[in-house]
Amino acid sequence: MATLQRYFFSDLGVMLGRSLRHLFRSMDTIITATITPIGLMLLFVYVFGGAIQSGTANYVNYVLPGIFLVAIASGTSYTSLRLFTDVQRGIMDRFRSMPIAPSTLLWGHVLASLVFNAISLLIIVLVALLMGFRSSAGILSWLAIVGLLALVTLTLTWIAVIPGLTARSIDGAAVFAYPLIFLPFISSAFVPTRSMPLVVRAFAEHQPMTAIVNTIRALLAGAPASQEIWIALAWCLGILLLAFFFASMAYKKRTSYATNIYQRS
């Protein structure tokens, strides 16, 4: 086992290299992952924006954090698809029958997802700049924003690993993302929560997306992050641990059956 430890980082490097090649050879997936959030941003800013009383002069600034979350949620679904393909094509079995650390099989995909989402968020920021997004945030605030977005991506990617391993069809592997994409809409991301009916408002104000959105919005505005950053971090870390736990369970379960997907259907 000592040799497995010794080679952990070199194995992880090979796995990450493989996933990054996949990513750069299917740039269309980045376009697909950014086109919906960008479309939403255009829709909210130029169609709905005039009617929304956000209380800010620059509505692009207001919606951008929510657009980030929608983009990450749809971007992580590619991790599910790629993992599902690995299991289905038998590549997973080939790797597992080799003397390599098993956790690198999942971590390679997860780290590649961070790169994927970083690119897609960068594209969105560029489009937002064209639409009038301006920020007075300093370097430390930007670092905090990048860190928080990386943590959110990590969390959502580990959630995405679960359907990637457990789904029985390629469609099943992708549908998990829809509720996650929808979640920012019932938060403070696009309209202030005070305009919502009581029950919806109670939900919106106590779900993780609101804490994350408010934190990023404050940081972008150059304001000091309120205590909401701690709520956002607690949500992310808590869900990350849970998702990691269930993903590990799913990996064990997936790998304890001889029948693969072809045979089962």
Binding site: M1, T3, L4, Y7, S10, D11, V14, G17, R18, R21, H22, R25, S26, R89, G90, I91, D93, R94, F95, R96, S97, M98, P99, I100, T255, S256, Y257, A258, T259, N260, Y262, Q263
Partner: protein
């Protein structure tokens, strides 16, 4: 190298209600090509997955290259390679990249050189820099087998190596498997085709209802059946023979 390449004793495995393996015993000597013959659902894949450490047996023992598949899985993985039922190649990578990746994961010193040698040996040099998604079924299988040879493991498992291939691809794979065996490697393959077992293997084991019901050389197995009678039957060419004759593959006849 131990005297026995694979040793299986009283192996049991069931999924919920389904008893797949019900006391499998056999021994494989080093350097042999052994075919495990059985119908679909006989438990061939389950057995291969246990021997390649992908699945744990319910009871019984299995030693591969002298190592226990449950308690010494890491050593077993160093000794084997597995080629599954569906060519397990990375479609978005090129043939060369696939081989280099496996060589790196086996921690070889010169992954590129290893990859180029195998590409040449399997007739894939020309297609080396093309993505695998553009390969034919036979080429994929050849690449798949080449990936199994990276790092020269002494024991190779092939799970239904010709399933899903056209007749030409099947002959191609047969040729490669025969070559693989020349290096003194042990090859353990499963198949549902009698002619494939006859063509490739020097020993055949028949798995039926969870047990090995017969094993031995082809000659030994033939003795189990009634002596041959001489009959005169007009032999029509099979569609396969016609097909191969038309496309000019004379070696099939």
């Amino acid at each position: 190298m131990p005297d026995i390449a694979i040793q299986v004793k009283d192996l049991h495995k069931s999924y919920r209600q389904l008893n797949v393996l019900q006391g499998v015993d056999f021994v494989v000597e080093p350097g042999r090509i052994v075919a495990l013959l059985g119908p679909n659902g006989a438990g061939k894949t389950t057995l291969i997955k246990i021997l390649s450490t992908l699945l744990k047996p319910d009871s019984g023992t299995a030693l591969v290259n002298g190592f226990d598949v449950v308690t010494q899985a890491a050593q077993v993985r160093h000794s084997i390679s597995l080629t599954g039922q569906f060519a397990a190649v990375d479609e978005l990578l090129t043939g060369r990249e696939n081989l280099i990746m496996i060589a790196q994961l086996r921690h070889l010193k010169q992954p590129r050189q290893v990859a180029d040698e195998l590409l040449a040996r399997f007739g894939l040099t020309e297609a080396a820099n093309r993505r695998v998604s553009a390969y034919s079924g036979g080429m994929r299988r050849r690449l798949d087998l080449a990936m199994s040879l990276v790092g020269t493991p002494p024991i190779i498992f092939l799970d239904e190596p010709t399933t899903g291939l056209d007749p030409e691809g099947r002959l191609e794979v047969w040729k490669v498997v025969k070559e693989l065996a020349q290096g003194g490697r042990t090859i353990f393959l499963t198949t549902q085709y009698l002619d494939e077992a006859e063509q490739l293997a020097d020993r055949i084991a028949i798995l039926h209802q969870g047990k090995i019901i017969a094993s031995g050389t082809l000659q030994e197995l033939k003795k189990l059946f009634p002596p041959a009678r001489v009959e005169y039957v007009e032999k029509q060419p099979t569609l396969e023979e016609i097909f191969l004759a038309i496309i000019g593959q004379k070696e099939a006849c």
